[in-house]
Each structure stands twice: as structure tokens, then as C-alpha cells.
Amino acid sequence: MVMFWVALLAISILIYLLLDGFDLGVGMLFGLTSSKSKREAMLGTVAPVWDGNETWLIVTGVILWGSFPLVYSMLLPALYIPVVVMLLGLILRGVAFEFRGKASRSRWIWDVCFATGSFAASFMQGAMVGAIVEGLPFSNGDYTGGTFGWLTTFAVLCGIGLCFGYALLGACWLVRKSEGPVRDMARRQIPPLAISVLAFLVIVFVHALAEHLPILHRWIDRPYLFVFPLIGAGAAAVLARSILNHDDYWPFHMVSLIFVAAFGTLALSFWPYMIPFVVTIEEAAAPHASLAFMFWGAGLFVFPLMLLYMAVGYRIFRGKSVSAVDHY
């Protein structure tokens, strides 16, 4: 039962990373162009699906609370400021979707909110992962690091790294979903973004070596973990080829695979810890009665249904979104 909820939590986080990753990425790239028509075409690729994408963040949050209340109640207050800033970023970019089309003179406000909100949310998510990897100080379950204890060089690096990662995913989504100038622009953005992501991975790795982060020992103990970076490297090679061949379909899937590889590396490196080296999965798990109640309804029946709605949504809005625009 515990393992089932660990798996569902991992799947939900992964789906969130991939789905909201691309629409947050599109949001940041949105800020890099000032062309009105490009901006609108970019928004059109994510407008029908962003709400569902973001819902996976809530799914992650409530699974964490219901299945692993200890982790929920330790991590969220420890990461108070980044959580609040992330939420505010998501609010500003979320309302921008609805408000932008209603605005006339004030449209620029929502353009700014959309880009900066996307950036703030992405950066804070990366920084939180960084802070957790580096290790948050707890004593008897109480966080002792102070309001800005999470704000370390490593966390900032991870924040910037995730922004590049999401932007890369967003660019690949645009290549897949759009045509014309937007696709050409996104295609040009992919190589520098991909190289930046690679550079940040190297910097993060070197930093981890220099700081002797405890995660490194795990890599020496568990050599099989190197499978994931190998998958990532393979995906990067296919990505490079598909970019050179001007393929629209494969880049998004390859960058997704790189994300899966990175996520797998992190998750398995810390196994069986949920908060690295402080709380294990078994310690954090809710009582059996809670896990079983969620399993027999939400987990077994509703979760597949959620995947089905998601599939229906993406199926209805499949293909290049430019054709959708013509209908309006």
C-alpha cells in the first residue's frame, strides 16, 4: 500500500514536471519575444490544457498530505517563502490567460504577469528541489534553518537550471504544436537552451563534488544509477539529430525523456528517504486506514479516470494548434 502511493506520488510529480514544465517554459519564452502575433500563437498552444496541467501540482500536494503527512508538514513550512512566491507566480500567470483577452489598454500588464509569473514559479520549484537535495536542517521534526535557510548557491543554481529546462521543454512543445514564425523561433532557441541545460548540469555536478554533498556517496554505492544519465545522454543525442533534421515531433519527446531520466536519478538516489537523510518513506507514511481508503477509490479507479480525461483533452486538441485558431 505504501509503495502504491509512493509510485502514484512519483508519477504525479513526473506528469506535473512534464506538463506544467512545458507551459511554464512557453510562459518564459513568451517574455522573450515582443511580437504580438507570435505571443498569441504561443498562448494558443497551451491555453486549452494549462489548467489541467497545473492541477497535477494539487494532485501532488494532496497525495503528499494524505499519504505522507509528516513530509507535507515538514517540507512546506521549511520552504515557506519559495512556496508562497511560487503560488503567487502561478496565480499571476493563471489569471493572465483569462484576463489578457478581456483587456484592451491593460494587456501589457498581463503579458508581464504571464512571463514573470512563469519565471518565478519555475525558479522557485528548482530552488526547492536544490534545497531539498542539499539537505534542510531539522531537529525533532522542526525546521531550524530560518526563513531564508533554503537560499543557498546550490538552490539558486538549481532554480536557474530548471528555468532553462522548462524553457527547453516549452520550445520543443512550440516546435511540435505550431507552424511558421513561432516554430522557426522556437527551433532556433532549442540549441542554446539545450547547451545551457547541459552546462548547468555540469556546474551542479561540480558544485556537488566540491561541497561533498551526501548524495555523491549514494552514487558510489549504487553504480546502477548510472543507467539514468546514460538514458539522458542517449535522448540528448536523438534530440540533436532531430533538431538538425528539422523534425517537429521528436524533440519534445526526447527532452521529456531527459526529464524522466533526471527525475529517476534523483528519486532513486535518495531511496528510501523522502526528505533526504531525515525521514524515510516508512516513517512518513500515513496509517494503513488512510492509505487503504484512498487506494480503493481514488487510487484504483479515479486515478486511471484522471489519466483518461487528460488523454481526451490532449486528443481533442491534438495536432498543430494554428488550425484551431482559424476556427475563431
Partner: protein, 469 residues
């Protein structure tokens, strides 16, 4: 009073949840109304239903967007500010909110995209189905929230183990008798909010002598629904009062501003309760009525606040006044709905401009009633977070600093004030511009490659109208 992390966290929770409830209260009713409109249009083929659908869908979109983004905050705020609560009650509240997210949010979010962007991409029956699924999603969400909050009001079906609430009987938690009066109370409140907003918009157009055909449909449908639902709502509200009387006597005494045990008890209609002297100033009260309302008896003894230790008493002022404002709003709405429906049946409503003004200006009443109703329930539950078991003061994150809580509160207030002003302004503009395509000045027709806004559906609607007429 010191600005402690506890007080700031309470203010922040009250502020963010009050802001959030405004939107679901509206969209739950509106989603059901949209489903009815789409079904009536598909069944009867009358263009007016389609025009109204497209019109209210735009408003729904803005309100739904604000509800979604302000709702995400709620899923995390339990953890950030109330870590002791979330650790202790996570085994019960976590699964309940998981059910909400799993059964409701994903349904709403997925089908909302189809509702707004998918009209031309799916067959009509599937479009109607999507509308119904959004309505179902909003209703399920309300259900799970009411289960969750009712458990905090009347905790049941659990044992305490290792400092956690461990569920032993989920049926008791979900089929708690309190849920089955509070959920209908909230659902009806949402339907009434939708009904009054629709009716008020209709009244507004009639006063401005524009969009008459649509205005008549809005006014008569809104008022008729409200006229039927309001008496039911008052009755269910009475049942909610019964559970408070039986299970939360201190809250009941605060609502009644009853300081001392009385037998038979009088009912304080209005007064200024003073907790310093434990008495009421300027009280107007009716003898015996308190016993009748509390226990349907002429002789029953009703409990006063002084029967509870001072540290177990809720504040009196807020529950006392909030409850009276809620009931007052309900009665005013009842009067408007009945009078309006009566005159409407006699075809005299459109000539009685005074009543039209009253209906138009009544649109805030359902929201005021919902907010004050929740203030009665939540402030009346104090000093407890989980009634009788966990005190609010013990539930807050112990290591949260006042400066961090202050920072987040200021940020939330600033951002919410910002989006609320623009959101209401855009909704006002949509309402002012009126339904597309008929009468008055049509909305600006957007460039064909603007994929974003709902207003972009205008050309479709217009060509549809031309074809239909």
C-alpha cells in the same frame, strides 16, 4: 494585540479563503445554469439560449480562472502555516482532499478546456456532456470540502495514535449527519448566488431598456429558481442550526449572545454583546422564543456562554452579527424573489422599476450571506481548529516567524487586490457590453488569429445567429 505568527496566519487563512469562496460560490451555480441553457438550446433550438450560453460562458471563464488560482493556494497553506494541524489530521483531511482533487479538480480542468476551446472540435452531445461534467466537478468539489470542514466542526470516526488522528470509520466521517445538512446548505447558497446574479443582470438590462429578450429570460429564470430554493434554504439553515445547538453549544450560545443559562430562554433579536461585562447592551429580546428556536419547546433550558470556561468560549461579536446579517440577506432575497415572481406572472414586473432596481442592486446579497455564514461557522468554532480536540493556537507551525508570515500576508493581499480589481472590472465590462450579436452595440470583433479569449467565439455566434434567423 501583538502581531504574532499565529494571528498573522489566521488573518492570512481568513483572507485567502474568503477571497477564494467568492468564486466557487458563483461558478457552482453558474456551471449548472450553463448546463441547463445548453440542454435547452439543443432541445428547443431557440437561439436565445445559445446567446445566453455564450454570454455567461465568458463570465464563467473569468470567475472560474480566479477560483482555480486562488484554490491552489488552499492546498498548500495547510502545510505552510498549520504544520501541526496538517501532521496530526493529515491521515483524515489529506485523503478527503485527495478525493476532492481526484474526483473534482481534474474533471473540471479537463472539460473546462473543451467548454471554452472545443465547441468546433467535438459533437454537440459531447459538448453538452462536457458542460455537465464541469458542473458535476464543481459540485463534487463542494461536497468534499463540506465533508472536510464538517469533520473539523464535528470530529468523528477516529482514534488518537502517536499524536495523529487515525481514521477508524470512514463511513462515519463521510456520512456524518452534519455533512448532509451543511452540503445542501452550501450547494443551495451557490445556486442562489448564480440565480441572483443572472436575475440582477436581467433587471439591469431592463432598466437600461436593452437586450429585452435575453433580459426577460434571465430575470424570470433567476427569480423563479430563487423563489423556489429560498424557502428550502431557510429550512435547511434551520437544520444546520439544530446541529450547532446539539453538538457545538458554545457556538450556539455565541450566535444567540446568551451569556447565562436560561429557562425558558429568550431570543435576542439585536444587541451589542459585551464580553467584558458578559452581558448585552441595548438588547431587544423576545421571551421564550429562544427555547422554541433552540429546542422547539416552551420550557427548555438553553445553555449560556458562562457555562463554559473562559478559554473555551468563542468570540461573540462576529458570530452574533454575522449570523444576523446572513439571515437578513436571506429574508430580503426571499421577499425580492417572491414579489418579483408574482409580478412577473402578472406581467407587471417590467413596469415596476423600483423592484427592478431592488433586484439589480441585490446581486451582492448572496455573497454577503455566504461569507457571513462561513464567519459564523468558523469564528464560532474558535478557539478550536478541530472542535474540542485541537486548539487553533496549538495548530500553527511552531517555527514560523512573524516576519515571514507578515511578508506572505502582505504579498497575498497585494496580489489578490490587484487581480480582484481587474477581474471584477473585466466582468463588469462583459456584463455591460451584454450578450453578443443582438440589440445595442456588439462587442469588438477580435482579430481572427487571437486564440486566447472567449470573446473570440463571437464570430461563430454571429454567423450562427445569421443562419438561425
Amino acid at each position: 494585540m501583538d502581531l504574532t505568527a499565529l494571528l498573522l496566519s489566521r488573518l492570512q487563512f481568513a483572507f485567502t479563503i474568503s477571497f477564494h469562496i467568492i468564486f466557487p460560490a458563483f461558478t457552482i451555480g453558474l456551471a449548472a445554469w450553463l448546463t441547463v441553457l445548453e440542454a435547452m438550446h439543443q432541445y428547443s433550438g431557440k437561439p436565445v439560449y445559445r446567446i445566453l450560453f455564450e454570454f455567461w460562458l465568458k463570465i464563467f471563464g473569468v470567475a472560474f480562472g480566479m477560483g482555480v488560482v486562488s484554490g491552489v493556494v488552499m492546498a498548500f497553506q495547510f502545510g505552510t502555516n498549520w504544520s501541526v494541524l496538517s501532521k496530526m489530521s493529515g491521515p483524515i483531511q489529506g485523503p478527503l482532499l485527495s478525493y476532492e482533487t481526484f474526483t473534482a479538480f481534474m474533471l473540471e480542468a479537463s472539460f473546462f478546456g473543451i467548454l471554452i476551446f472545443g465547441r468546433t472540435r467535438v459533437p454537440p452531445w459531447f459538448y453538452l456532456f462536457s458542460t455537465a461534467m464541469v458542473a458535476l466537478g464543481t459540485t463534487l468539489s463542494a461536497f468534499w470540502i463540506m465533508v472536510n470542514n464538517s469533520w473539523m466542526q464535528v470530529p468523528t470516526g477516529y482514534v488518537m495514535q502517536n499524536g495523529q488522528f487515525v481514521p477508524v470509520d470512514w463511513a462515519q466521517i463521510i456520512f456524518n449527519r452534519v455533512v448532509w445538512v451543511r452540503f445542501p446548505h452550501m450547494l443551495l447558497a451557490s445556486y442562489l448566488t448564480g440565480a441572483f446574479c443572472v436575475a440582477a443582470t436581467g433587471a439591469w438590462y431592463l432598466l437600461r431598456r436593452t437586450y429585452r429578450a435575453e433580459a426577460r429570460v434571465m430575470l424570470s429564470m433567476g427569480l423563479a429558481l430563487a423563489a423556489v430554493l429560498l424557502p428550502v434554504q431557510l429550512f435547511i439553515g434551520h437544520l444546520v442550526g439544530d446541529y450547532v445547538h446539539d453538538l457545538q453549544p458554545a457556538k450556539f450560545a455565541a450566535i444567540e449572545a446568551r451569556w447565562h443559562d436560561e429557562q425558558p430562554a429568550s431570543e435576542v433579536l439585536i444587541a451589542i454583546p459585551d464580553s467584558g461585562t458578559e452581558s448585552n447592551k441595548y438588547a431587544i429580546s423576545i421571551p421564550i422564543l429562544g427555547s422554541i428556536i433552540g429546542s422547539l419547546s416552551l420550557t427548555s433550558k438553553e445553555v449560556g456562554l458562562t457555562s463554559f470556561a473562559p478559554q473555551d468560549r468563542p468570540p461573540v461579536l462576529i458570530p452574533f452579527f454575522a449570523f444576523r446579517i446572513m439571515v437578513g440577506c436571506g429574508l430580503v432575497m426571499l421577499g425580492l424573489a417572491w414579489l418579483g415572481t408574482w409580478l412577473g406572472l402578472k406581467h407587471r414586473l417590467e413596469r415596476s422599476r423600483l423592484l427592478l432596481w431592488g433586484i439589480f442592486l441585490s446581486f451582492p446579497l448572496p455573497w454577503i450571506a455566504i461569507l457571513t455564514g462561513w464567519y459564523t461557522a468558523e469564528v464560532g468554532r474558535q478557539p478550536w481548529t478541530i472542535y474540542g480536540v485541537l486548539r487553533t493556537a496549538d495548530a500553527v507551525t511552531p517555527f514560523l516567524t512573524a516576519s515571514a508570515a507578515m511578508m506572505s500576508l502582505i504579498l497575498f493581499v497585494a496580489v489578490y487586490a490587484f487581480i480582484f480589481s481587474f477581474g471584477t472590472y473585466y466582468i463588469y465590462r462583459l456584463l455591460r457590453a451584454g450578450p453578443p450579436g443582438l440589440g445595442g452595440k456588439p462587442l469588438d470583433i477580435p482579430a481572427p488569429n487571437r486564440p486566447m479569449s472567449l470573446a473570440d467565439q463571437l464570430p461563430t455566434t454571429r454567423s450562427y445567429l445569421e443562419a438561425g434567423e
